[in-house]
Amino acid sequence: MTIALDTPHPTYPAPAPPRPGGATLAARNVGAWFGDHQVLANVSLDMPAQQVTALIGPSGCGKSTFLRILNRMHELVPGASLAGEIALDGTDIYRSNLAVTETRRRIGMVFQKPNPFPAMTVSENVLAGLKLSGLKRSDHAAIVENCLTRAGLWNEVKNRLGDAGGGLSGGQQQRLCIARALAVLPSVLLMDEPCSALDPTSTRRIEETIAELSQQVTIVIVTHNMQQAQRVSHGCAFFLAAENEPGYIVESGPTEKLFSNPDDPRTLDYVSGRFG
C-alpha cells in the first residue's frame, strides 16, 4: 500500500520527554518510489535502542533514501512516495497522529555536507532547533555547553560562541550540526555519511562522538567506509541493488558476524572490498 503523504493530522500531541537511551526504530516491508521508479523493496530492519546501526552498500542502492524515510524527509522530494511501516517505539510514524514536525524533532538528522546556518553564531546554531521546532527549554547557556560538550566541540569553540557558525572548519561544522541536532532532545539520530566530506582527524573525532552518544540516543549511520562501520556500529545492514531494480537488504545482523562470517557470499565480497 502506498501512503498518501499529505493526510492532515487531526491532533498534535504534546512533545513527549525523550526516553533515556533512545528509542527503538523498526522498519517493516518498506518500499520507496521516485515517480514510477522504485528504488527500495521489502526492506525490514530493527534498529534497537542504545545501539549504532550502520547501513552499508554500494552507491545508488537506496541507503540514503531509506534513512530519509525514517524521519519523513523522503516526502520532501516532489513525486516521492513510499509503502510499509516505520515504528518509533511501536508507534507508526506515518499512520499515527504524530505530527510530521514532531516526528522529525524526535528523529534528528545529520547530513553528508556540514550545513550550519550561516546567518547564526555558533551558540545560535545550537539553539536554532528550539526556535524552529517550538520546543520550550530554559537556560540556554547550559544547553549550549551541554550539547557542544556531547558533540565533542565545546573545548574548541567555548571562546568563539559569538562567531558565525560558517567560520568553523569542516569537521567542527559537522560536530556543530550534531550539537544542533542534540539540542531538540531527539530519541534517534540519523547520520547520512557524516564523515565523507571530512579529513581523517575530524572523522576520528566524530566517531568518538558517535561512541559516546550511543548510550543516549539510537544512532543509524550510512557509511561507505567499511572500517568505520566496523569501528562504530553494533548492528549492520547490507543493501544491494541490481541494475535498474529496487534496492533491498541482502543481510543484516551483528556487525561482527557480517564482517567475519556472513551468511551471503555477496556480503563477504563487499565487506572485503571485492566489489562496490
Binding site: E102, R104, P118, A119, L127, G162
Partner: protein, 382 residues
Amino acid sequence: MTLIEAPPEQRDPSLTPPRTFASAERIRVRAFGLADAGELAGAFLSALALVWLVYERLTPLSGILGFWVCVYVAFLGIAWFVAREQRGAVVARDQVVRIVVWSGGVGLIVPLALIVIVVVGHGYHALRPHFFTQDGSRVGSLNKATDGGASDALVGTLEQVGLAMLISVPLGVTTAVFLNEIGGWLARPVRTIVDAMSAIPSIVAGLFIYIAVIRGLDYHPGGFAAALALSLLMLPTVTRTTELVLRLVPGGLREASLALGSTEWRTTRHVVLPTSRTGVVTAVILGVARVVGETAPLLLTLGAAHVFNGNPFSHPQNSLPLFIFNQFLLAQPSTVARAWTGAFVLLVLVLVLFLAARLAGGRGAGHIGRVRRWRLARKGLA
C-alpha cells in the same frame, strides 16, 4: 666569575632572536609589467596613426565618433596581431577579450562619472541652506535662482517613496517567498504576470491609478495616490530580485531546518530570509532606484502643489523629480538653475538612502553585528 648559560628551553623567549627565513624575492604572478604596457601603448599608437592616415588623408571620411570607433577596432586588431606573433593564437584571443572586457568596465564608469560631474557642476552654486527649509510657494520665474526652496518637493519624495516601499516590499517579498518556497501550479502564471508588470510604462501606471483610484474611487490626487502608482512600478523589481536571491539559499539549509522539526514558515522566517538578508536589501534598493526618479506617473496622480504639505493623505504634494521637471519647463535662467539644484539634491538623497540601506543590512550573512554580539553575551551565549 663564570657565566653559566641556561639550556635553550629555559631561556627567556623574549631574549631569543626571532627566527629569520632566508627568503628570495616574492614571485609576482600575472603582474602587468612594463613590457605589456608598452605593447598595448604601441598597439594603440599605431592604431591611431593608421586610422588617422586612412581617415584624414586617403578617404573623404569625417566625424569624431566614427574616427574613435575605427581606432578602437584597429587597436583590437593590432593588439591581437602583436600578441599572436609573440605568444601564439590562444594568448592573442585571450588578450583581445581582456581588452574588450576592460573597456566595457571603463565604458560603464565614464557616463556615470559624467552624469555626476555635470549635475554637481550645474547644481551646487544655487544651493543655499534655505533650499531645504522653504517651499516654492512664493517664487516665480522672475525670482533669483537662490530664492525659495524645495522642502515641499523633498518631503514629498521621501514620503511617497517611503509609502511605496511600505506597500511593495512586504507584498514583493511575500510573493517571492510564495514563488520560491511554495510554488505549485500557480507559481508559473504569477511569475509571468510579475514579468509582464515590470514592462509597464510608468506613465501607464500613473494613468491606471488616475482612472482606478482618483476617478474611480473619487480619491483626491496627492501623495498616497502617487505612492500607489510608484509601488506598481516597484513591485515587480522587488519580487523578481528577491526571488532570485532566495533561490541562491542552499536547499541543504532548508532540509536541515525541517529535520529539526521546523515548519515551513519558521524555516522561511528564521533560516531562508536571514541567510539572504543582503540580497533582500539589494532588492529593496533596486526597487527604490526604479521609482525615486520617476516623473511621469506623478504628473497624473500628485496634483502638483508648490506649498509645503507634510500629509500625503490629504491635499496635493510635490516631489523632487516633478519639481525639476516644472522648473525646467519655465525655461528661465533662474528656474533652470533651480532645476539643476533639485537634480543635485535628488542625487545626494539617493546616495544617502543607498548608503544607509547598505549599512543597515548590507553585510554578508556570516557577519555578526556588535549589538547582536552584545545581546548574546548578556545571555552568556557569546
